[in-house]
Amino acid sequence: MSRAIDKETVASLQSDDPTSVYEDISCTLCWDRGQLLEIEFLGKSHPLPPGTNFLLDGNNIAIPKAKLVQAFVTARQIFFNLAKDCPKDKLQVLGNAAAVILLMDPEHITAANSRKKILLRAGSLSPEIFKAMLRKELLFVNSFLTARLHRHTKSPTLWGHRRWVLEKCKAMGMGYDIHQDLHSIILVAAERHPRNYYAWSHLRWVIQNLCVGEKTKSEISPFIKNWCLRHPSDTSGFSFLLFCLAPLKTPENVPRSDASTFVCEEVLGLAVSFKWTFESVWVFLRTIVATELVASSQRLVFLEAINNLLTTCEGEPKARSNLQNAMQWFEENQQANGS
């Protein structure tokens, strides 16, 4: 989580005109392309020719970290000059400065909030303008959340900002497509930042607030299962899979044991075939097998699989402890199972 800036970067900052670096970067970052921007940072090992502040290829943008730092210094000054009581004709300027600040550090709450305030001021103009701006804001935050940027993809501030924008979209009667969102934004962020806590909790929120909860969970659980099988060391994916398979806690709902049993069978089968000893897989399996969600026959399969795999990982202490923990945990926590 280090925010360290090295000496060479600091030294290189002396050479350029910070204002023009800022103008360049903020302009390209905030330009209305109507599509996602693919953002990455360039390190010291990728120096650009003098006067070049970023590389752009279609919607792919690569910004040297050193240049972004320079742009940030200017952005910060502009931002705090305008933030309090921003005049109407400077709102775009304020928003652009906030964008550069957030690119530098996604946890800058004040910058994120300013973009919300700008949107609300637009909202007071006309519903159509508001909707158009909400769409743009969604593209903006989606670009940051799907970028190849380690901190942005998991940022609670950015995911929270996205949630706020989606709430406003819902209030304006704008449509929401869970499948599109899942595949092009949320699962991309989940893949680019493994065990992405806030991406997956955002997905839970989306399902509970923008979709028809139970129906949506059923629809997406095959995609989630397949994603988990391609990312067997991702505990967040598996945790979400459990969430998908578990019914809402209402008396009328019958536990979906067929779907859960099927998934459990498949994961257990693959675990044995591929000799998976990933902790994420076995935490998932021990949990699901211990609940009432799966047929009791799975319990025996589970225990046999563990014993089977234990014989294949003699010299691997971590693998062994994952398996043994799974067995012990299951034995301590298994619920009464009628089926």
Partner: protein
């Protein structure tokens, strides 16, 4: 005070038997952070400033050097972060949020300056009352959880921020404790852990927040201590450090989030304490001071305070006692 990283690097080659806590270098490191006012990093970390000040001050207190940062300047800075609504931002000009409000109150309490808050604080009713009103206004009246600020993001972390600050102000009565407690209970997962909201993934940081809040509310009886203890004890990896969730890399700050959660539920002995202490010490830079997330990485004040706090929980010599929450 700036939340600054570097220039120290944690040693990856220290011999286990000779690991010592390098107290003076750590004190000097924390003191030096404030002197880098003109440097770039001061601006880069401005949005965390109040947290950074809390982390640095706490670390100094734990190292037995509570006077190592100037008291009056500290108080002046904290009060300059307060808004008219009673809440505090990370730095002057930054928006108010529970995260920084909590740090503000913790700092003022630590330097015994709550009277200064009474005399000079902003907001309706002034002093403690104004801050408590700001906090109470962020509670979701229906569910009992807390938003971080006016924009509505809810997270169990914010429940702890709220209750922590209010308990230091002796004003817990302004919020609905029962509802907050019920909400936390609804966040308990089948694996014994807690997440950011009901039904979300268990996470050591969120667990710390939920357990800490229940402790303040006097309701640790509602925690399944064996189940949670089990989940937390599985956070210890071969190298001795702790991670936050299954299969994540260990990070020294979890020495605190996991360690104090275990301490609060009376199960700290479920992890290998000496092994953890050795790991923590490998994360320090014994020459320049400070701790990093892992041996060999760049130090920062966040990892410094939680390393020292972790050592305190483990009753490491030279470190003051810490309250788990």
């Amino acid at each position: 005070m700036s939340l600054v990283s570097g220039p120290g690097r944690a040693t990856a080659t220290a011999l286990p038997d000779e690991l010592q806590l390098a107290i003076e270098p750590h004190v000097k490191y924390i003191q030096s952070l404030d002197s880098r006012k003109d440097e770039l990093e001061y601006w880069l970390t401005e949005h965390l400033r109040l947290n950074g000040l809390y982390w640095g001050l706490t670390a100094l207190h734990l190292l037995g050097r509570p006077d190592a940062l100037p008291r009056n300047e500290t108080i002046k800075f904290v009060l300059s972060c307060q808004h008219d609504n009673g809440g505090f931002g990370a730095a002057p000009g930054h928006d108010a949020h529970l995260l920084y409000t909590c740090s503000a109150i913790q700092i003022l309490a630590m330097v015994d300056a709550l009277d200064d808050l009474e005399n000079l604080g902003k907001g309706e009713g002034g002093g403690r009352v104004a801050v408590s009103k700001y906090i109470a206004g962020l509670q979701n009246q229906e569910t009992g959880t807390f938003a971080g600020d006016e924009w509505g993001e809810e997270d169990t972390r914010f429940i702890l921020c709220a209750l922590n600050a209010l308990s230091l102000l002796h004003l817990l009565s302004v919020v609905d404790m029962n509802k907050a407690v019920d909400y936390i209970v609804s966040c308990a997962n089948f694996d014994g852990g807690y997440g950011v909201s009901p039904g979300t993934e268990s996470h050591s940081g969120q667990i710390y927040a939920c357990v800490g809040a229940l402790r303040i509310a006097g309701r640790l009886d509602l925690v399944n201590k064996d189940k949670l203890g089990r989940w937390l004890s599985e956070r210890q990896v071969e190298a001795g450090g702790l991670n936050g969730r299954p299969e994540k890399l260990e990070d020294v700050c979890y020495s605190w989030w996991v360690g104090s959660s275990l301490a609060m539920i009376g199960r700290l002995h479920w992890i290998d304490g000496p092994k953890l202490a050795k790991y923590i010490l490998k994360c320090q830079d014994p020459k320049e001071g400070g701790f990093a997330d892992r041996p060999g990485d760049t130090v920062d004040v966040f990892h410094t305070v939680f390393s020292i706090a972790g050592l305190s929980l483990l009753e490491f010599p030279g470190v003051e006692d810490v309250d788990p929450c």
